[in-house]
């Protein structure tokens, strides 16, 4: 058990989440990918706190990450709800106005 192993764990969670966020069509599934990426960041932050700099600021970083996750989910669902009400869609491809 050392820093590298924890970082590998974090990287694999982040990579899986990234794959989901890029490949999923549904906005809700895309958000699951984002959450998984944050999950990887939490592991990495905790490992850095333990192995590199055991200062309180490292813990504060995890608190910030958790708030970011909560905000991401709340805003994400609110946007899905709004877009579903407006156009009856919940897929990213159907809400790509800026691309067209």
């Amino acid at each position: 058990m050392n820093l590298e192993l924890f970082l590998l764990l974090g990287s694999s969670l982040l990579a899986i989440g990234l794959y989901g966020a890029l490949s999923q069509q549904s906005v809700v599934m895309l958000m699951m990918g984002l959450e998984l990426m944050f999950n990887g960041l939490v592991v990495a932050a905790a490992a850095f706190w333990y192995y590199v700099a055991p200062v309180a600021e490292g813990q504060v970083l995890i608190v910030v990450l958790m708030v970011v996750m909560a905000v991401e989910m709340a805003v994400g669902f609110a946007v899905v709800t709004a877009i579903f009400r407006a156009r009856d869609v919940d897929m990213t491809d159907m809400a790509a106005d800026l691309r067209e």
């Binding site: 999923q24 599934m29 699951m32 939490v42 700099a53 600021e57 609110a78 491809d93």
Partner: protein
Amino acid sequence: MLTAVLFWLFGVSAVVFGFLVFRLDSMARVTFALLASFVFVACEVLLLGLSYLGVVIVLMMVMEMVIMAVFMIMYMMNPAGLMPMAMYHNKPGAMSVSLGTFAVLATGTFLVDWPESRGSRPSDTTKSLGESLMGPQMLTMMVLGLVLFATIVATVVLATNRGRYDRFGDDLRARPDDPVPGGVRR
């Protein structure tokens, strides 16, 4: 020895359940696979001695994932996975980007010469976190509070479809026309 075994157990489980999130068909199972991944990560955090943060991750993620399940069922086609269907776009591209990211991060992990640990770990991590948040990191805490408050307002504005005039009509002093009455009997 025990911690090493636990590390591998939790770590592999977290990755496997994270992978299952994009493999399972049933949206309910997907949500709870993600929850399992979070809980195993919380176990890793506990293993590192951050007891408060580990337990709070469990607390928050259970609530969050139960709410998430409600939304998943609400918006996804085929919520129970009884008719398997694929909803992907650009799968090879996404796979190569994510594998590339992992390769870069893994290489970096082993190439970077990580510094030695500075300072000693506090005996009471919860206390050190609390003193930091209420002391030098007070500004962070206040900004987080404001962000959360702004989120509450923004999400309610985005998600509600019945504004003030839908509820009250022309006369804002009248009794609201709500489909279900509340318990305070205003």
